[in-house]
């Protein structure tokens, strides 16, 4: 799945700074350093040119009609994606590649394709005037276009948040080159959720290992952005320890509350496909037309705020089946706490806590 609030391309070496010249360590304000007009200017110019070209292509597609996209395959978009790579905008490139897959994605594809067209156009447009955006939003846009900020840079420039962080969940993915581990943490004092990414060579586990359900006292520095989520683990983290009694299950919200949190996050970052949320007291409901997570409390007949609602479960990947049945088994029809990603496609569960507060990972 895309989104997760994760910068879409995390593996690209940090920006064009080394090439673009001469300002490293020159004591510029951090805010301007990351791809500002001075440092990395050449790369920024290229990316801006690429974004402008992409907007023309998108407008051209809409002018000629999206109906023509059905059956054209990916070759047309592959060329555009290659040019976005040349323009050093890998975030745009991977979004472009995903466009090509939408017409084959089943019923309602025109609506989804238009959504993707529009959000990509919005991103390219935003990058075109990124220097005039508020700094946090500009950071979000740069990150989504494909500019990365190195961890040391984040640690150096962003004040750290010290907290006792409960490990909420983990998800390992791998492609032919790279193994990626996502770890979600929740500050027991601040209530903030953070996402740690770590990478390893393909075929080997990523190096960062924090067992789900344990608590680690640490400094985290959030990558700058309109809705900061991705964070970097600072030095001096304590060893993972069991939570204090009763502190192992994170507090959560209703289904309606989770969707409201996603909506609020979209206000900062309109490209978010989902937002990490803890649902409390929900019941997984298997059904022939798909799974749902339902509020255990509240009336069944009113979903507008006070009453009980439900949300479709969106389970990406081939491991979806076993994970969902584990979720159903842990619940057994009783309310459970579920951490996952809530978005416009539904809720993608990551971890479930049983009545005794024991967590079970659903993506491993």
């Amino acid at each position: 799945m895309r989104g997760c609030g994760v910068p879409r391309v995390a593996r690209v070496p940090a920006g064009g700074g080394c090439r673009g010249g001469g300002h490293r360590g020159a004591g510029r304000p951090a805010r301007r350093a990351a791809g500002g007009p001075g440092r990395g200017g050449r790369r920024a110019d290229r990316a801006a040119a690429g974004a402008a070209e992409l907007r023309l292509r998108l407008a051209d597609g809409v002018r000629r009609g999206l109906a023509g996209e059905e059956g054209t395959g990916r070759s047309a978009w592959d060329g555009v994606a290659a040019r976005m790579v040349d323009a050093q905008a890998p975030g745009l490139a991977s979004r472009v590649r995903e466009l090509a897959a939408v017409p084959a994605s089943g019923p309602d594809w025109p609506g989804r394709l238009l959504e993707e067209y529009a959000l990509l156009d919005l991103l390219a447009a935003a990058y075109g005037r990124v220097d005039r955006l508020p700094a946090p939003l500009a950071a979000t846009v740069r990150s989504r276009v494909g500019f990365t900020v190195e961890a040391v840079e984040v640690l150096r420039t962003v004040p750290a948040v010290r907290d006792r962080w409960l490990v909420l969940g983990a998800h390992d993915t791998a492609d032919e080159r790279l193994a990626t581990r996502r770890l979600w943490l929740r500050g027991t004092a601040t209530g903030r959720i953070a996402l740690l990414l770590s990478h390893g060579r393909a075929g080997r586990a990523a190096d960062l290992s924090l067992p789900v359900g344990l608590v680690v006292e640490a400094d985290l520095a959030y990558h700058p952005g309109a809705r900061p989520l991705r964070a970097v683990l600072g030095p001096g983290a304590g060893p993972p320890a069991p939570p204090v009694p009763g502190g192992g299950v994170p507090p959560g919200v209703t289904v309606g509350g989770a969707m409201a949190e996603y909506g609020a996050a979209l206000a900062g970052d309109p490209w978010l496909d989902s937002w990490p949320v803890v649902l409390a007291d929900v019941v997984p409901v298997p059904g022939p037309e798909g799974w749902r997570l339902a509020d255990a409390d509240g009336d069944a007949d009113c979903g507008d705020g006070e009453g009980g609602g439900w949300i479709p479960v969106h389970a990406p990947g081939s491991a979806a089946g076993p994970g969902l049945w584990r979720l159903a088994a842990v619940s057994g029809g009783r309310p459970v706490t579920v951490f996952g990603e809530c978005g416009h496609r539904g809720f993608a569960p990551v971890t479930v806590w049983d009545a005794d507060g024991i967590p079970t990972g659903l993506r491993t």
Partner: protein, 588 residues
């Protein structure tokens, strides 16, 4: 999100999509209604004479984010009922971890002759059945997150099903009601040692070792064992299931009822018997094996007149297991007429005169008119009669023991047929005295095993008490080695006794010393991995160290020792067997 496009959206989204599909070159940009922010943007785009394509994309972006940010949950429908509580204690932590390992390492190093290092135990999947049995016998429940993987394993390996389903307990049934892949769970009787339903699979699945008790009368479940997994199903809704349920549910219900109240089960079956289809009648009749008693005789006797031949045969077989039944008496009558003990010139002899024809009454009692085997019809009739006649007939009428009767000569070459039929009767009637006499002592070295002895030794062995079984098999292996011992070993209770284990290890050592190939004994080796007592590990390891038989045998012994230690650790994690556990099965 599912259903998001089912109703027209008030923000004019469908209009935007229709225009985008056709192309703004061919269709004008629609006016956007709905939310003020959208219509204002549309108006602004029109006023600024923006390129329609760019304007459409901007409007679509606005509409997309607007919709996503405003998503609300659908009002929920009915929630599923909760799974019944499982009062059993949870597995110890280490055992739960081990189960997770056994369940995920399904494709482990199974090839015993393969080049795998001797440091790894043999295929973990082979140890799963034993783990499941041991955990079930100790009355644990499996942690909920592992239940789906357990059911998946049982789905692909039917021999795991009885123990897996019992361990999964009420949660397993609850899940199976929701996942068609696990429907087999619903056909199982809780606490049962065998599947009750699926046509053609009734009866315990026999693994390569055939380690489950055979015969009707063996190991009736202890009273209340059906509730070991907390699924004691009352009969409150039973009549509903019986009247309206699916066939598999009905069989399950009947079998369950037979275990708790055989008379009620029979009453239930009688209530609808006449209306059942023939193939259903057959399997319902099969369910009467549980709790079979003389009370069932009138019903079974009536079933001898059933329209279906298979129903008649099954009824006859059940009746012959009831040694006091009228059918058994009729068979005794025929046996008496066919086989007489006479005093001849050279001493006593069995004079055999099989019936000359298969009359109507014999056919009604389940004897086929023509031999389905290679032997002649008369030999077939003789075998059917003697196998169904109560064995007590022979001892009671002659005042002799089986040991005294068996050596007597038999006239006209009928001896093999007679002994074969007695062996079948001993198995069917679960008669240890006759089985012991028919087996005799293990044959001496010069006698080819199984030569002129009656019945398959493994089947007769299964009738004996487990210690006696093990002692006989050990004596056999000591004399004859492992070549013919596979089925006998499979009939012995697991873990093997120290004596039997020593006999098998000794025979393996001799085979290694004699230059045999390890893989020519792979069947016995595989069984030894599962059945040798863990205490045998030291002895096996010293064989590996001694290098008897060369590197291939050293590796084989090394892996066997490693497997035994793995098993020992696996069983130690589960803790001691409770003295009167919820399940007390004798043979396994």
């Amino acid at each position: 999100m599912a259903g998001r496009h089912q109703e027209p959206r008030p923000d004019g989204w469908e209009e935007l999509v229709a225009t985008a599909l056709l192309g703004t070159g061919r269709r004008a940009l629609p006016g956007t209604g709905g939310a003020p922010v959208l219509s204002r943007a549309a108006g602004a785009a029109a006023a600024a004479r923006t390129d329609p394509a760019a304007a459409l994309l901007a409007l679509a972006a606005l509409g997309t984010v607007h919709r996503r940010a405003g998503l609300r949950p659908a009002p929920r429908g009915a929630l599923p009922g909760a799974a019944p509580d499982d009062p059993r204690p949870p597995l110890p932590g280490a055992a739960a971890t081990r189960l997770g390992m056994l369940l995920t390492e399904r494709g482990g190093p199974a090839g015993r002759a393969g080049p795998a290092g001797s440091g790894t135990p043999a295929g973990l999947p082979e140890l799963l059945p034993q783990w499941l049995y041991a955990a079930r016998a100790r009355g644990f429940r499996v942690p909920a997150p592992l239940v789906p993987a357990l059911l998946d394993a049982a789905r692909s390996r039917s021999e795991l099903r009885p123990d897996a389903v019992a361990l999964a307990g009420p949660l397993g049934r609850w899940l199976a009601e929701r996942n068609p892949d696990w429907r087999f769970v619903l056909r199982m009787v809780p606490g049962a040692g065998r599947a009750a339903g699926a046509a053609g699979t009734a009866g315990p699945p026999q693994g390569p070792g055939g380690q489950r008790p055979q015969g009707h009368a063996s190991s009736p479940p202890a009273p209340g064992s059906g509730t070991a997994d907390g699924d004691g199903d009352g009969t409150a809704d039973g009549d509903g299931i019986w009247e309206e349920g699916l066939f598999a549910e009905r069989v399950t219900h009947l079998t369950r009822l037979r275990r708790s109240d055989p008379a009620a089960g029979l009453r239930l079956l009688r209530s609808t018997w006449a209306a059942e289809r023939a193939e259903d009648r057959l399997l319902f009749l099969d369910a009467l094996q549980d709790g079979l008693s003389p009370d069932d005789e009138p019903f079974l006797e009536a079933a001898l007149n059933d329209r279906s031949r298979n129903v008649r045969l099954t009824a006859a077989e059940l009746l012959s297991a009831l040694t006091g039944s009228a059918l058994a008496r009729r068979m005794a009558e025929r046996a008496r007429a066919a086989v007489r003990l006479r005093r001849g010139p050279g001493g006593e002899v069995f004079a055999v005169e099989p019936p000359a024809a298969c009359d109507e009454a014999m056919r009604r009692d389940g004897i086929a008119e023509h031999s389905p085997t290679g032997r002649g019809d008369r030999a077939w009739w003789l075998g059917e009669i003697v196998a169904a006649a109560p064995l007590a007939l022979w001892t009671a009428e002659t005042g002799r023991t089986p040991e005294q009767l068996l050596p007597l000569p038999v006239s006209d070459g009928w001896g093999d047929d007679l002994r074969e039929a007695w062996a079948r009767a001993a198995v069917r009637q679960n008669d240890a005295g006759w089985a012991r006499a028919l087996l005799g002592p293990p044959p001496p070295p010069d006698e080819r095993p199984g030569g002129r002895r009656a019945g398959a030794p493994a089947r007769l062995l299964a009738v004996l008490p487990p210690p006696e079984r093990a002692a006989w098999a050990a004596a056999f292996v000591d004399v004859h080695g492992l070549g013919e011992a596979f089925q006998m070993l499979g009939a012995c209770a697991v873990p093997w006794t120290a004596g039997l284990g020593a006999a098998v290890v000794g025979a393996l050592e001799r085979a290694a010393g004699a230059g045999a190939y390890p893989w020519s004994h792979s069947g016995v080796l595989g069984m030894a991995e599962r059945a040798l007592a863990p205490e045998a590990a030291d002895g096996v390891e010293s064989l590996a160290a001694a290098g008897t038989g060369g590197p291939a045998w050293a590796e084989t012994f090394g892996r066997l020792a490693c497997t035994l230690r793995f098993r020992a650790a696996m069983l130690a994690e589960l803790g001691p067997l409770p003295p009167d556990g919820p399940l007390a099965r004798t043979a396994r």
